[in-house]
């Protein structure tokens, strides 16, 4: 080895220490950057190939240090766990928040709920039964009935609004998904080019991971790493992103809750219209499950089921009241008329109207009894106390919505906890620890000082050799 060889060895030490400092600087600078994964310089000692030409038997020393690269200290296993947990969490979050606002519209239990209006309605019938043919009590009953009908319609409208709001929110989420997918494909292309050119794509991979996690939050899905450094995101078994290819999806289906039975809301591949994408989670998966049609057995989409419950309740109320009311006679002796009418062209909750308009129209008397007889009104008021009363129908609807909401909230809490655990694990592995970086900073600083000292020593050695040789005694 020549005398200048040691200078070079010291130089590689300087370079390695400086790269180390660079990376520490990058880590510290990004200590709080979302999605940043800590990095380390990987170095190895340079070896000298034994020279076959050299006849001398002198042993050789390594030729310094070589910087092999900058490693990204992430774990794809932990990343995958985060994505899985985020997908589940997104699914239940949407369901829980939608159910929570849905049950909020019920105003139960309390003085403003439908049950309370229903009780006042029955009481008004009883008062009318006690004071039949008194215009004031008749007017009071008609006002209560009008209030009941409009509250049912109002409840239905609120459910309808929930559905429409969620439907348009989901449109926005699908747009976000398409945007995120396109960005991942774009990043994949850059990563492949960078890696092929031998560069470091760590920051690009961090960015891609952040976006991939946001895709998992939207639709769940699985991610596969490909050999060329790119990745593949599969939803329902088909690739949303594969390398630098991106396949867009679209949300199709009606914008009206009443039409969801015939035109369901579903996610489709733009290139293959008509076949729905099977989603296994995510916010969009949760939203689509909430937007599903009612199936008659109470297990369909909760919003449409709630609307169907309002309809069933309205129809039940009309049938029960009319069943007794039609046996009565009004002041003019007319019999066989109904109290509620249902407009078949509308959902029952909206088509429910009160037929009598004045208290004189009210058929409250048993046929053949005196004009002040209110037995029919009294019998209607007792509907509220029967086992199959509209009140009990309503109570079971409220309890059903409450149970669904409770389940969704518990699941959402659990999914939130498991997401937190997964993210904690991911961050404890990938996060920047400032103390650790400070220690590294010190050690690289010392290494740099050491390498510089070696260089100075060799320099002084050479100075002695070049400038002071042969000047003995001068």
């Amino acid at each position: 080895m020549s005398s200048f060889g040691t200078l070079n060895t010291a130089y590689t030490g300087l370079v390695a220490a400086r790269r180390g400092l660079d990376v520490v600087g990058q880590n510290i600078a990004n200590a709080n950057t979302d999605g940043y994964t800590r990095q380390r310089v990987t170095t190895s000692a340079s070896v000298t190939a034994p020279s076959s030409l050299s006849m001398s038997q002198t042993f050789t020393v390594g030729q310094g240090v070589s910087v092999d690269g900058v490693a990204r200290l992430g774990s794809s296993l932990l990343d995958a766990r985060v994505r899985l947990a985020t997908g589940t969490s997104g699914y239940w979050d949407v369901r829980a928040s939608t159910m929570s606002s849905l049950e909020g519209t019920l105003q139960e239990p309390g003085p403003n709920g439908l049950s309370s209006t229903l009780q006042k309605f029955w009481s008004a019938w009883q008062d009318l039964g006690n004071n039949a043919a008194v215009p004031a009590t008749g007017a009071a009953l008609l006002a209560q009935a009008g209030g009941l009908v409009s509250q049912i319609a109002n409840g239905y409208h609120q459910v309808d609004d929930q559905w429409s709001t969620l439907r348009s929110d989901t449109d926005v989420k699908v747009a976000q998904l398409n945007d995120a997918g396109a960005r991942v494909a774009n990043l994949n292309a850059k990563i492949r080019t960078t890696l092929a050119a031998g560069g470091s794509a760590n920051e690009l991979i961090d960015q891609r991971n952040t976006i991939t996690t946001s895709i998992s939050k939207l639709v769940g899905g699985t991610v596969r790493e490909l050999p060329d450094g790119t990745n593949e995101i599969l939803i329902g078994g088909n690739p949303l992103v594969s390398g630098d290819n991106f396949h867009s999806v679209a949300l199709v289906g009606t914008y009206h809750m009443d039409a969801v039975g015939s035109d369901p809301v579903q996610l489709e591949w733009t290139s293959r219209p008509g076949s729905p994408v099977a989603l296994d989670g995510g916010e969009i998966g949760g939203a689509i499950s909430m937007l599903a049609a009612a199936d008659g057995s109470g297990t369909g989409g909760p919003i449409a089921e709630a609307a169907a419950s309002y309809n069933a309740f309205a129809a039940n109320l009309a049938t029960q009241v009319n069943g007794i009311y039609s046996t009565g006679a009004n002041a003019a002796g007319t019999t066989g008329v109904n109290f509620f009418s249902l407009n078949g062209a509308l959902p029952a909750a909206l088509g429910l109207t009160v037929i009598p308009t004045t208290s004189a129209d009210l058929a409250t008397a048993t046929v053949g009894a005196g004009a002040y007889n209110g037995d029919v009104a009294g019998a209607i008021s007792q509907l509220g106390a029967s086992k199959t009363s509209p009140d009990s129908v309503w109570a079971s609807i409220v309890a059903g919505i409450g149970t669904t909401s409770q389940t969704a909230q518990q699941q959402s809490t659990l999914a939130g906890l498991s997401t937190k655990a997964a993210v904690d694990n991911q961050l404890s592995n990938a996060g920047v620890d400032l103390d650790e970086e400070n220690v590294n900073l010190l050690s690289f600083q010392r290494a740099y000082q050491g390498a510089a000292r070696v260089m100075t020593a060799v320099d002084q050695m050479l100075d002695t050799l070049i400038n002071h040789t042969g000047t003995v005694g001068l």
């Binding site: 709080n32 159910m99 929570s100 049950e103 909020g104 019920l106 139960e108 239990p109 709920g113 049950s115 309370s116 229903l118 009780q119 006042k120 029955w122 009481s123 009883q126 039964g129 006690n130 039949a132 043919a133 008194v134 009894a369 005196g370 004009a371 002040y372 007889n373 209110g374 008021s381 007792q382 509220g384 106390a385 009363s389 009140d391 009990s392 109570a395 079971s396 409220v398 309890a399 059903g400 409450g402 149970t403 909401s405 409770q406 909230q409 937190k420 993210v423 904690d424 961050l427 404890s428 592995n429 996060g431 920047v432 620890d433 400032l434 103390d435 650790e436 400070n438 220690v439 010190l442």
Partner: protein, 306 residues
């Protein structure tokens, strides 16, 4: 490597713990200030269902309470009217006994008795047409202006009665049967045989007056008057029994109201002591975690490298 702790994980955990503590605190504060254990159905779906049922029963019980008050007012009116009728009948009987003393009574005295009897008949007819809140108390559900017309015909329908519901399964009659009290058959005076259609008490008085004018002894009419008085007492005892039933229903209703309210409260309302204790504990926990967080997050190696 999963146990590696970084500044970021400490910060995140601290934030998470603070957030959890604050959420629990907010929930407890909300509960403590609203005093409601169930604010939305999902807080307790089974409890919600029960609460709706209890509230329904409360509304029905309140309505039965109003029905009972209304019925009691009817019964009081009927009772006092029957008492008045009874005392008028007593006076009529006295006059009849007096007028039957043919030997001692001059025609002038008999005329005076006849005049008083006619006045008492008018009084009786007025009592028979007593109304409560615009409704005849002796004529069921009819909307006719009076129960008995000037020609003594009855406007009520046979078997028609005013009923009030005092609980889910019971209705009681709150008016009196005008036909039984005063008789409906205007042409025939009341018979002593209870099996026949009751004759009108007003016709009876007319007949007595006629007898007095025509010099016929009216002592024979006493049997008919006694029969009528018996019918009136029978109605009075029925009304008295019903009033007692109403009183019992009133008490049952009141205790039912209290019991339902305590049931509702046990389902819907909070155990205040427990919530306040929980709230205090949670406040302490939150303050502790704030204090600890402030201490833990400060030092790094930076503080010691000079």
């Amino acid at each position: 490597m999963l146990t590696r702790v970084t500044n970021q994980t400490i910060t995140r955990n601290a934030q998470y713990n603070l957030q959890t503590g604050l959420t629990a605190l907010a929930k407890l504060q909300n509960q403590a200030s609203s005093q409601k254990a169930i604010s939305v159905p999902s807080d307790d779906p089974a409890g919600t269902s029960k609460s709706l049922q209890i509230r329904g029963e409360q509304a029905a019980t309140a309505q039965y309470g109003r029905n009972i008050s209304d019925g009691t007012a009817w019964l009081n009116t009927v009772d006092s009217t029957l008492s008045a009728v009874s005392s008028i009948m007593g006076r009529i009987r006295d006059l009849t006994v007096q007028g039957a003393n043919d030997g001692a009574m001059s025609p002038t005295s008999k005329d005076a008795i006849a005049t008083e009897l006619t006045n008492l008949k008018g009084e009786l007819l007025k009592q028979a047409n007593t109304s409560y809140l615009g409704r005849n108390i002796f004529a069921g559900n009819t909307n006719a202006g009076v129960a008995f017309n000037a020609d003594y015909t009855f406007n009520g329908l046979a078997g028609d009665s005013v009923q009030r519901r005092i609980d889910a399964n019971t209705t009681v009659r709150v008016d009196a049967d005008g036909a039984a009290v005063f008789g409906t058959n205007p042409g025939v005076p009341p018979s002593t045989d209870p099996g026949t259609t009751p004759g009108s008490v007003f016709t009876l008085i007319d007949n007595i007056v006629d007898d007095l004018h025509n010099g016929v002894n009216i002592g024979a009419r006493l049997t008919e008057i006694d029969a009528r008085k018996q019918a009136i007492s029978a109605q009075q005892s029925i009304i008295g029994t019903t009033e007692a039933q109403m009183d019992r229903a009133q008490q049952t209703n009141a205790s039912q109201t209290v019991s339902l309210e305590s049931q509702r409260s046990s389902v819907e309302d909070l155990d205040v002591a427990k919530v306040i204790l929980d709230l205090q504990t949670q406040q302490t926990t939150y303050q502790t975690s704030l204090g600890v967080t402030a201490k833990v997050l400060q030092p790094t190696l930076m503080d010691f490298l000079r």
